[in-house]
Amino acid sequence: MPYSESYIKNKLIEGLNASHVEVIDQSDGCGAKFSVVVVSDAFEGKPLLQRHRLVNALLEEELKTIHAFSQKTLTPEQWEKQKS
């Protein structure tokens, strides 16, 4: 089943209480290749592996059909730093 950018985005916002989410569908519309940026308080104090595990767990069902998935997981503080 193909997924839309907004479907993935909403799921990440709800599941991780994310303050900022960017989802880019890199599959030319087939809905199976995504790149995401997630900014959430939930990542505070967690190493990168644990952060990615949170995202993976949330998208467990979707990742069975999404064949390429790239993620950046930032705390609000890191996100502010990166923007400036």
């Binding site: 990168l48 467990e60 790239s70």
Partner: protein
Amino acid sequence: MIPFRFYNAVRGFATKLDKIGNLVKQNKVVVFMKGIPEEPKCGFSNAVVQILRMHNVNYDAHDVLQDEELRQGIKDYTNWPTIPQVFINGEFVGGCDILLEMHRNGELVQELQKVGIKSGFVEKEEKKEEKPKE
């Protein structure tokens, strides 16, 4: 009584994970990827190969495309849904995104150092610094 088929399935699962548990300890750095380092079959696997090449790391690579059982087995072992997967000292480190981030922030050099591998990336940087003194 446990039905025979069920028992067999459980035993098969356990052996598979044992096998992977041994594989990940056979070298200080072990990578599960699509294709082989000389010919990666996916951009994410290629990125991992390029990063390890920059650091001049000697590692074991296992091609999951050649072995469907290994492909599923490694995902079960780490509870991680995607390939490539990188191990240092038998410990799961992460996939391509994590390795790339560790390369950028210097963590990879430290992790390699912990297991006694001097990163070739550091040596190159050191040489650059030495040159002006000559």
